[in-house]
Assembly symmetry: D2
Homo-oligomer: 338 residues x 4
Amino acid sequence: MIVAMQEFATEEQIDTVIEKMVEHGVNVHRTTGASQSILAGVGPTQTIDLTVFEQMPGVMYVHRISSPYKLAGRGFRPQGTIIRFENGVEIGGREVVVMAGPCSIENEAQIHETARRVKAAGGKFLRGGAFKPRSSPYAFQGLGIPGLKLMHEAARANGLLTVSEVMEISQIDSMLPYTDLFQVGARNMQNFNLLRELGHLRKPILLKRGIAGTIEELLLSSEYILAGGNYDVLLCERGIRTYETATRNTMDISAIPMLHKLSHLPVIADPSHGTGKRDMVIPMALASVAAGADALIVEVHPNADKAASDAAQTLYLEQFEEMMRVVAAVAKSVGRSI
Amino acid sequence: MIVAMQEFATEEQIDTVIEKMVEHGVNVHRTTGASQSILAGVGPTQTIDLTVFEQMPGVMYVHRISSPYKLAGRGFRPQGTIIRFENGVEIGGREVVVMAGPCSIENEAQIHETARRVKAAGGKFLRGGAFKPRSSPYAFQGLGIPGLKLMHEAARANGLLTVSEVMEISQIDSMLPYTDLFQVGARNMQNFNLLRELGHLRKPILLKRGIAGTIEELLLSSEYILAGGNYDVLLCERGIRTYETATRNTMDISAIPMLHKLSHLPVIADPSHGTGKRDMVIPMALASVAAGADALIVEVHPNADKAASDAAQTLYLEQFEEMMRVVAAVAKSVGRSI
Amino acid sequence: MIVAMQEFATEEQIDTVIEKMVEHGVNVHRTTGASQSILAGVGPTQTIDLTVFEQMPGVMYVHRISSPYKLAGRGFRPQGTIIRFENGVEIGGREVVVMAGPCSIENEAQIHETARRVKAAGGKFLRGGAFKPRSSPYAFQGLGIPGLKLMHEAARANGLLTVSEVMEISQIDSMLPYTDLFQVGARNMQNFNLLRELGHLRKPILLKRGIAGTIEELLLSSEYILAGGNYDVLLCERGIRTYETATRNTMDISAIPMLHKLSHLPVIADPSHGTGKRDMVIPMALASVAAGADALIVEVHPNADKAASDAAQTLYLEQFEEMMRVVAAVAKSVGRSI
Amino acid sequence: MIVAMQEFATEEQIDTVIEKMVEHGVNVHRTTGASQSILAGVGPTQTIDLTVFEQMPGVMYVHRISSPYKLAGRGFRPQGTIIRFENGVEIGGREVVVMAGPCSIENEAQIHETARRVKAAGGKFLRGGAFKPRSSPYAFQGLGIPGLKLMHEAARANGLLTVSEVMEISQIDSMLPYTDLFQVGARNMQNFNLLRELGHLRKPILLKRGIAGTIEELLLSSEYILAGGNYDVLLCERGIRTYETATRNTMDISAIPMLHKLSHLPVIADPSHGTGKRDMVIPMALASVAAGADALIVEVHPNADKAASDAAQTLYLEQFEEMMRVVAAVAKSVGRSI
């Protein structure tokens, strides 16, 4: 950690800060310049609340140097993490894995038709929401576990894995038999109790970046899961909130290479939520793969215009098939396959 | 709702859109201009997922006109809501109510000393966190219910009410005996299951705006609580995330008059989280009251530098007392008291 | 235009609004619902200041439907614009055009070495700043016209075109002999006097999106140039300011397909400024091309670590050559060449 | 400056960085921890482009400690700056100075009527735009110098000073006889050539924060003016661009105390542009004064609904008079007058 003192800080103020640093088990080295003193501290600074120092008299500026996450950092596993599923599918390897399905599971016909087409086009996971967090209390809220069961049957009948969102701790157990990959939604990125609980599972977790989550916060949240011993975390970029209103969110494609640089965890892109517009999904899926995404998750529906939720960002089945063709070409051009 | 068709939309496309609108129970009026047709729909548009229309062929633009919240809207109770507590304290009336206390409840001495001084300076509520959501899994996580009990004793011994954050449904029952006002934190603004549950309580709720929450989303979230029959909701502005890094968050003071315009619910300002800096708390408290805030919530600690969390934004007790003096003067200048 | 009246608007208020609309030459169609009236206006609404209506008594909401740009809209030239240069280079066609060079022109050796290598690797334009807008008054401010001359010689000696930033009207004439493409920087996106002047030139303009510019504002700014009769405008995505600090800016890749949808003008991506980090440039260049960019502009320097400005985001020459190889592969995978 | 090396940086990498720091005239002190080395540099770091260091091999993180502005910093003039005008008006003292007038100067009657009422209500400056930067090329662009002359006559006839926006260097000379305070608009906050030129004037400058300008950038821009010897700079908060759309901009009231903390320059608030809505102007004016603003600038028009620009945010004259009454009360409550 670094504490920069103000230009006119007194010796007494500087000493008080040094004492407080030492109190926290930090070794302090002082640099005295013409106009300013700088205190560099080395030690267990990851667990110190630096805000304590920020407003001590004479202090100008405090900065933590060590990254506050450990297990999620690239240094922990320089070779990168590969998440392996029982049917042999791997995320984080050479192959770009595609997950697709409706926003909400609606009925048997819908989910079976989707599963068949997703599989045929080369998808590996069937996605579908059983519990829907909706910003209006008057909107469709999902089918619950019976829906999840339908999705699991459709997936297995077609050799697919399943991914679905868990919204609270109480849902975990009942979801367990039907879920190969638990998704934590953007609104729950900082639901630390839920994350801690998922750290004790032995199933992989797809962790979405919050709509205003920084890259550092996303990694800190993954740390909650890793700290419980569950190392199979898939980080998801799904668009952040900015001043731009032409798209629902601004998909931060640069988060993909940045997460790869900072962490060993694989990265998935969600161009459906990232843009909120059907005709933006394909270009953003291509951009994600070109930037290094290990996987894609998109919304597709046999009757996209009548989808019970998120209709505007849901691909028609034909569009999904078209997407798979061009994604395969781009993946190949950057040395990967689909 | 309004559907604006593209300049070169065909008659067939227009007809298809009109049919879909009628299908949803909406009466449609068409305006044909030189270059463009506009469809105005009147009917049950609050429950329609407008995204369905957004990408129909020939559609340029869809807009909902009715606000999607009903019970939270100003029109529902033009005279405004006053939340009444059993000891006679009222929020939303002429008086500006002040709530203060430590970020985390740490021990009996801390909380009793704080309660005594808060009361003496004119505060009405004692605040304190028992369960702390922390972005790092390695930081202090709170004392839980025993802490809350300590706070409740300290409050009652000094004639104060209590406010504390509820993080999940399972905590509600055990918090109930010790909590006069349940706070929903910024990270839970869209935890709809929790909101729905709190709608069934008969205790007032303080609902914080999410760090990237819009004013409309805050009102929609309050609607979840109101829809359950609990009309005592206090809306809280506590800073939003912007590109500016000089302050931790950007406190959106304009949300205060805007919420008063759009809704009948009272508004509280949190200048501690709104700025993240101790020396900004007083000016922002004054600004909030000048802009019409009905209440203030601030962090204060008998030994602010050693607070277990949020130290940098926590007032010294002397600062709090100073704040109360100037807040009283500003409140009076805008026709209110403290 | 649409004017939605409040639920309890009086007939008198509605009539006053209708009169004002008619006064502005607009035909008004009224839709009366159970709870609300909506006024749809068709006519010359592009030139009306809608804010006039926004706060008339009884008005809830005003919206312009027609897009406020005309010449820049896709509808004006559905087939798309191709910008043609005298040596046969085209932007907006099948080929992805690459522009590269140092942030600042520093000396003859630097610019000649760069030109040679850019050409050899397949670049078509040499870029370089002669006038540098720097946020600190104490930083290097550029070589001016003599620098531009050096760059032009180096470009022509290697069969390249030149692109350089114009910062004010007074620079245009002296830059003219040495500049094939005039760049308007992000800070000048709304320097309307400059834009208007450039509309009278008969040289193509590269218009950068402002750091907080919306897509609509970028198109409106291009309209200033087009309105002067200069239709050769190249729109540039170069990163926007968001709350994320891991990258200097957040590159909005989705702006590329969105601009193509809304406008006929070609689009160039600037991954150097878009990310501010050298090791992010290649992945973001690939993402841009995958998303449909018609051109790329990047910073490259024979001695990138000693560049007089923007060193951290400047590619080494070897990195640039590597970039060209992978960009070519991705371009091919989406049906384009380089 | 601080350079934090990566955990596994080699001794050779560390030495290379140290050499480069010394090369720039910086004294280096090295701190070696268990896992990481930190280099603290003291010397002329204000003029070094730190990005050079950012991507040197083995470097994790670079930070400048000294603030990059000098003349604008609070330390330069701890007692604060008071701007004095020839008629005795002072900005930055005990009195809160109010500036008011139409967005655009339209005609003699309009500006005289406004001047009379502004003066009567206690205003000290008449504002009015002669050159209007408009985002659409089809909107009203201002009357130019003849308009400014009209405003100056109206001001002087009523004992008022004038403030008007300068958009480019070429306008300065012709504006000089009629302008007591030159306003630099938000779009020109980083028009460094214009700022440098205004540094050579001997008239005060009102410098508006850019719509995406940070507080640090605003101070750096002021430094351009101060560096020319013109120390009479008035900093203006006028709303920043955020994701919130309920208000046109988000007025960052916390910038007022923050600027006072960081700088000696006085601060003015612009609640008209800050909110974009007439009915938000008064509460935000009150909030600004409560937070310590030294001056206010608002838009007022004798016939606000028919204003040629910015009608929606323009106060009626009666509203302005009402505002002056309540602003005076709030100013008094925080120890100031009007």
